[in-house]
Amino acid sequence: MARPKVDKIAGTECDFVYGLKRGIPITLGYVPVGFTFGLMVVAGGLSPWVAVFTSMTNLSSAGQFAGIRLLLAGASYLEIMLTTLVINFRYVLMSLSLTQKVDPEISLGQRLICSFGITDETFAVAGVENRRLSFSYLLGLIIGPIIAWSGGTALGGLVSTALPPQLSSAMGIGLYAMFIALITPPAVKARPVLGVILISVSISVVLRYLPLFSFVSAGFRIIIATIVGAGISSWLWPSSDSEPQTVKE
């Protein structure tokens, strides 16, 4: 995207609009995935409003899917909380990574607001911006995805009974298709990125299928694969400059 480098980091209206634009692909991608979540919750016997309430307060794909599945299976609060924590613990790494990119002038309140909108996808986009991240930019980036996630969930929850079961199970692929769309183009452009993905995927597959590692939960599997994958890659392919790879818009 040919956009002049902006040195000024203070929030401007232009930053907000730029953030909104960067969020459009995520916004569109969240509708079908949120929809699938709504379907799942209602199919499990809960009200569509519980589904919407979950999406509005959690805004986490894998985490809320897992949490609700446990809830429906009769798990305890502690189990539900711990699993959510483990699956979503990757946000700690993302949030930590973003501390290095946000405008240092951003206030405490603004940080508390932006934090809510950190997801795999918004992080993937914000994390590769070649500039300091202002509050306006972050707000613009997260607002569309937040609305789309809850809106998609509401739609899915409300039409769930009217939808043929084949179609609702087909929508299970949506979340992963979105992830694939996000990582493939940069992997084609930059060899090291492809390397990072191959390493982390290999670790994830090994941890998932080798009986030796059957004690590793899904959440920890993601965390281990991420840390080891990115760790080995940064050692194998140290980037000469700190310029991040570009994620497709």
């Binding site: 959690n58 009769g74 946000y91 501390t99 809510f116 692929i173 769309a181 597959v205 694969a225 991420t226």
Partner: protein, 104 residues
Amino acid sequence: MKGAIANPIIAVLLMAAVTYLTRAIPLTFFRKEIRSPYIKTFFNYMPFAVLGALTFPDVFTATGSVISSVAGCIVAVLLALKGKSMIFVTICAIIAVYIVGFVA
């Protein structure tokens, strides 16, 4: 499946609190600049590592049928390689799984 489940509202609020804290604590309280080039590179690579591990191998069991899941995955990868948008890739993958579900 057990008969009684926990109160959904309480469970959802607990999930929300835990999730929000993982996002908010670092961004709010950690203000130091990290200088190590290794850690900077690590942070640049992280999004790709997370998304890769989240996708594989789970994508192959996403739809309840391995065959249709693999079909959807292949369609998604091919379209993503062509640089198609996220929404287009997502919807085409869903359609592919739906069609293969009837055939297979």
